[in-house]
């Protein structure tokens, strides 16, 4: 545990000095939000102010895209000599990966909060009580945690930093075929099945429901089950993947 804390501190320091990655993780969602709200928003009819509709999707994009960067920080360590040194100090894969994941959670919590701030500036007005806000924070945190571990696994599988970067691409794309930016019923029929049942959709629906004080229905539970499931599977698999990678 104490190793994990030391290694989290390490990854945070490394991130602070590589601000490019943090800025990209923040700027890309903000730019997308501006593009959607000001360029496309007028043409999309969602029944509410478009900015209000789209913000949960942008939050999720920000959280997912930023978390996916964990794959890159992990593979960077795996291809250098430092993991051998850690292992020769009897530090296992779990604290090393936990350090990356914890730093990712901190980084993306900050990034997500900033994107929220920008959303407020351009007219996002949620109707959420303190408990709704707590639930929103909890769901986002779970989502960031799950995607960060999953991403760490990709970092262990990938052969090159470029391949690991491919995971950020996937996470950037996944919100599009969901209700993040446009209502699903405006999409072609063959896409409905995927868009309604992919993990991103319940997370967005839950966030939207909580922020706009609308009935959340089952989406909150579904979101937690998805995130919890991904987290358990990824964290479980990462130990074996780490051993395979370092054998």
């Amino acid at each position: 545990m104490s190793d994990a804390i030391v290694l989290t501190g390490r990854t945070i320091r490394l991130t602070r000095r590589n601000l490019d990655a943090v800025l990209t993780a923040m700027l890309l969602p903000v730019m997308l939000m501006l593009v959607f709200v000001y360029f496309f928003g007028g043409a999309i009819h969602t029944g509410t102010e478009y900015v209000t509709y789209v913000v949960p999707g942008v939050m999720l994009l920000c959280a997912g895209f930023g978390s996916a960067n964990t794959a890159v920080t992990v593979i960077h360590d795996m291809t250098g000599g430092i993991v051998d040194r850690f292992r020769s100090l009897d530090i296992g894969g779990t604290p090393i990966l936990a350090g990356h994941v914890a730093a990712s959670v901190l980084r993306n919590t900050v990034a997500t909060a900033i994107v929220f701030g920008v959303a407020f500036l351009i007219g996002f007005r949620p109707h959420a009580g303190p408990f709704d806000w707590l639930a929103v924070a909890g769901i986002l945190l779970m989502f960031i945690l799950a995607i960060s571990w999953l991403s760490a696994c990709f970092g262990l599988i990938a052969r090159s930093p470029e391949a690991a970067g491919g995971f950020t691409f996937l996470m950037m794309f996944l919100p599009y075929p969901s209700s993040a930016f446009v209502p699903i019923d405006t999409m072609p029929g063959w896409l409905h099945g995927f868009a309604e049942h992919q993990p991103v959709t319940p997370v967005i629906e839950a966030l939207r429901g909580l922020l706009l004080d609308r009935p959340v229905g089952d989406s909150a539970w579904q979101a937690l089950v998805w995130c919890g499931g991904i987290l358990v599977v990824a964290a479980g698999a990462s130990g074996a993947l780490f051993r395979r990678r370092t054998a």
Partner: protein, 334 residues
């Protein structure tokens, strides 16, 4: 643990990667408080041996004990007793030198103040105090290597593994690194290092094992090893092709290297006047064939040629034409 037992003891280590047999039965014994060098060319299996001894990779066969503990069944105890400074730098470029050492201190379970003190002490000792607050990315190769070594020492290890500690360093940084390694032994620790350079092993090691193709082909003190290759080499430049060819035939397997284009060949000698005179008389009884001669001290290439029948760079004994010319250039450069 038992005091008189060796710091490192390995027998019959074997390791394959896929179809490639990297180690074919390596036996080693390293006394406590000594410096041991594993000398070998690229791909000989040096890093693989270090990784097995430092518990990072299990061997396919064979046993090894380090600091009295079995590297397979007692991995945890071995890891508490050793440090590894690998072939490629294992420090974070984006952290400062001091932060790297503090982190290592915390990871080796030192308290906050203790870690701070240890970092300051090591920065001082490795002449890095002035650069302590700079990102490692701005360090020179030599500074980085010193920091890398310092990072391995934070936890007061008993046995230190150094994989090619000076490869890629300029002569001055190399000398500085050698001084550092010599200083380690006075603390009573055991140093196991790998190198491609005979002069480095010669400078630092109490004993040397020469590895080639996954086997130990010779083991002994630097003096013993150099004796086996006579310690010196007589290089002769012949006057013409006929004389050159006659000399090559006459010397046969005693030939250490040869370069047909430059009519030059080398043969082992102890460097004494009597032996050199005898060799010259044997090769050139009429005193007309040899144009010039020089006596060199033996290089790694000579050691390898004598022990394995090929140079460290994989050229064969009877290399002719281009590869021999290359060998000659390298022999002249070493």
């Amino acid at each position: 643990m038992a005091h008189r037992s060796a710091a490192i003891e390995a027998s019959g280590l074997e390791k394959s990667y896929g179809a490639v047999k990297v180690l074919r039965g390596v036996d080693l014994s390293v006394a406590r408080g000594s410096v041991f060098a594993l000398l070998g060319p690229n791909g000989a299996g040096k890093t693989t041996t270090v990784r097995i001894l430092s518990t990072l990779t299990p061997p396919d066969a064979g046993r090894a004990r380090v600091a009295g503990f079995d590297v397979i069944t007692d991995r945890r105890h071995v890891r508490r007793a050793i440090s590894l400074t690998g072939q490629y730098a294992a420090v974070d470029e984006m952290q400062t030198g001091e932060e790297n050492l503090l982190m290592m201190g915390r990871l080796t379970r030192l308290g906050r103040t203790e870690a701070r003190g240890r970092a300051r002490e090591l920065l001082e000792r490795f002449d890095l105090t002035g650069a302590a607050r700079r990102a490692v990315g701005t360090y020179s190769g030599g500074m980085r290597r010193r920091l890398d070594l310092a990072a391995g020492l934070v936890g007061h290890p008993e046995v230190i593994f150094l994989d090619e500690p000076t490869t890629g360093l300029d002569p001055r940084s190399r000398q500085a690194m050698w001084d550092v390694v010599k200083g380690l032994v006075t603390d009573g620790v055991t140093v196991f290092l790998t190198t491609q350079y005979l002069d480095e092993a010669d400078q630092l090691a109490d004993r040397i094992a020469v590895v080639d193709g996954g086997r130990v082909v010779a083991e002994g003190t630097p003096a013993e090893l150099k004796e086996r290759v006579a310690g010196r080499r007589l290089d002769l430049v012949l006057c013409d092709v006929a004389g050159y060819e006659r000399a090559v035939r006459q010397l046969g397997v005693r030939l250490v290297w040869s370069d047909a284009d430059r009519l030059t060949l080398g043969v082992a000698t102890d460097g004494g006047a009597a032996h050199v005179r005898a060799l010259l008389d044997e090769i050139d009884p009429e005193r007309r064939a040899v144009d010039r001669f020089t006596v060199h001290s033996a290089t790694l290439d000579d050691v390898f040629m004598a022990l394995t029948g090929h140079t460290a760079r994989g050229e064969s004994r009877n290399a002719t034409g281009e590869s021999a010319a290359e060998g000659a250039k390298e022999a002249a450069g070493v």
